[in-house]
Symmetry: C2
Subunit: 343 residues, 2 copies
DNA sequence: CAAAGTCTTTCCAACGTTGTAATCTTCAGC
DNA sequence: GCTGAAGATTACAACGTTGGAAAGACTTTG
């Protein structure tokens, strides 16, 4: 059977509690005793039983990360960043995939596995602002994403409006004026799509241009195939445009592929910028300009906030909102020689 | 505080053990009693304490998946497949990233978290055949990948040699004869690189062609940037070739990008096929022919085997080897009009 | 209608750990 | 050398659950 504290205690000729004290760095242990215990631990290869510890202490040192889909590059990279941040602080991460489904998200939030974790990072997709009442669970939680603001818990997100505005401005500065807002969700006000559309509008306004509704292209699901599909329709419709502000990188890449198939040159004929800075954008042909949403900062902050809540260190603090810094990443897909191209 | 069995028992006016029996579907419970208990559970919102259950039963229903890197599309998709397979059987997955480092892999294998899981799926990268002695841990384990064969545990892998041979043949059939083996590791015999090179050689041999060592291109790390880098050197060297058998999709995509930059047309000038069938291959320009390694089958089989070991159902069975079915996926990057192009 | 089953429920102990409080040891101060 | 305080160690109980076996209820059978 597995080695327990009992065995270690026996080997070191101390009580079980002393072993526990050594392991947990309690004060008041004679150096000689500590030595002896550590030696016994080493010799027997003792490793604590985490279930027992969890039972007794009420802590498991496990946190849960709820995301829509690991196969989606953005979330894979987010998961990696979260796991790295958590690992630094000695926590393990369980990833739960929701598929972006409302039902599934609720299932997970209220499921039995919540009882096995100390806290949750919940990247909301299926639920929305109107569901804010449903997310008040006993487990400490930090929200991610753009679907729910001002909920009962801390919230970490990116600067959607500002970033989208900057992306749009980036194209405007390069002399493009007929810009598609690619990936809109017509009836959405908040949510990534709604906010990014708002940023797009503001940039146009600042530049003294009118918002033209036909240039806002709906793409329901933000996968590459959807981007390709939507772009195919745009081209068939004969709509005129010279730039694309895509609301994420995947649909940008899908659209880019379709445009190239149709003989359009990027960036000469059409300039395009995406959102998320997924790894692939550095290797596409042409490389894709995009927005770095501050993923690492988001992960670090979210984990730190969650641990504060778990430790009770932020008990009195009201729900916090944090927006990460973003950056415009300029690559080939917007590399246009232009008089207006400023440094 | 949280609701426990004690509260449920009280509410249903039965003993704690009866509640436990109901939850665990023990036989011999009066229908009326079961009803009453379930009602109480529902009403109080009881959820079992998994730490306590784990402590008492020795089972946590958690399995660990050790992979090199989540940001790598192949492993993200593998993780997704494993999580789906595990979820079907009521298990949770903890992902541990090793970075492919030998030290880190050993750390994880012998770390305290192994004590919190029922079993491990270990996608070997840092260790090798010579380390076979180091992986004999008490936790049930199933190995994945091509680094260790005939270890002390079950092993699930793809048909590397056969698949690589088929990929090579695919190009040969299309009239290409000067084929790069792209992604070789010179001194490796087993390991994906070694096996895939072997498949490449066999296909040449079957076609009556000589193996030319200068056509085997070393690419140490199989990331896109490494593929790009290696291809740049090949082009500079002036080496002549008309086809590329890339040992994974990422380096294929990197290489493709570089070749296109250099004005080479794909597939007209150079035909190229990859390995892994990652999602991106369906959307690159041109779309990339590749090998579907049977990822879903690998995940399903590995999880099933692991659970058999955990349940002790396969106690007497010696270590098993399983090779998944593969498929050649023909896409644009090898779509060459040719007399020899067979159906 | 008693004996012998079969179902159903309960009691008790244990899993391995840590918090609390009590006990034992050491050492300074006089 | 004695007192008291601080330092080091230990005993005990408890966390919430489940396995094993005993006890209670009900049914069948001769």
């Amino acid at each position: 059977m597995a080695v327990t504290m009992r065995d270690v205690a026996q080997a070191a000729d101390v009580s079980i509690k002393t072993v526990s004290n050594v392991i947990n760095d309690h004060p008041n242990i004679k150096a000689e005793t500590r030595e002896r215990v550590l030696l016994a631990i080493e010799k027997l290869g003792y490793q604590p039983n985490l279930s027992a510890r969890g039972l007794r202490s009420g802590r498991t040192d496990v946190i849960s990360l709820i995301i829509p889909d690991l196969k989606n590059a953005y979330f894979a990279e987010l998961a990696d960043a979260v796991m790295t941040a958590a690992s630094k602080r000695g926590k393990v991460v369980i990833i739960e995939q929701s598929g972006g489904s409302r039902t599934r998200e609720l299932e997970i939030l209220h499921g039995p596995r919540m009882r096995m974790v100390d806290g949750v990072l919940y990247s909301v997709l299926g639920l929305g602002q109107e569901d804010v009442g449903l997310i008040d669970i006993p487990t400490p939680m930090v929200l991610l994403g753009e679907r729910i603001f001002h909920g009962p818990t801390d919230h970490v997100t990116m600067q959607n409006i500002e970033a989208s505005q900057a992306a749009t401005k980036h194209l405007l500065q390069r002399g493009r004026t007929k810009l598609l807002a690619f990936g809109a969700h017509r009836n959405e006000v908040i949510g990534s799509a709604g906010l990014r559309l708002e940023g797009y509008r503001r940039a146009l306004q600042n530049a003294g241009l009118d918002y033209r509704d036909e240039l806002a292209i709906d793409v329901q699901s933000w996968h590459r195939s959807d981007g390709a599909q939507a772009m195919r329709q745009v081209l068939e419709s004969g709509l005129e445009f010279d730039g694309v502000v895509a609301f994420n990188d995947s649909i940008a890449l899908g659209a880019m592929r379709v445009m190239q198939d149709a003989g359009l040159r990027i960036p000469e004929d059409i300039a395009i910028i995406g959102f998320d800075d997924i790894d692939e954008t550095r290797y596409s042909l042409p490389t894709l300009s995009t927005i770095d949403p501050g993923r690492r900062q988001i992960a670090e902050t979210a984990v730190a906030m969650l641990l504060e809540r778990i430790d009770g260190a932020a008990e009195a603090t009201p729900a916090r909102e944090f927006e990460a810094d973003f950056k415009v990443i300029s690559r080939e897909s917007t590399a246009i020689k232009s008089a207006e191209d400023s440094a």
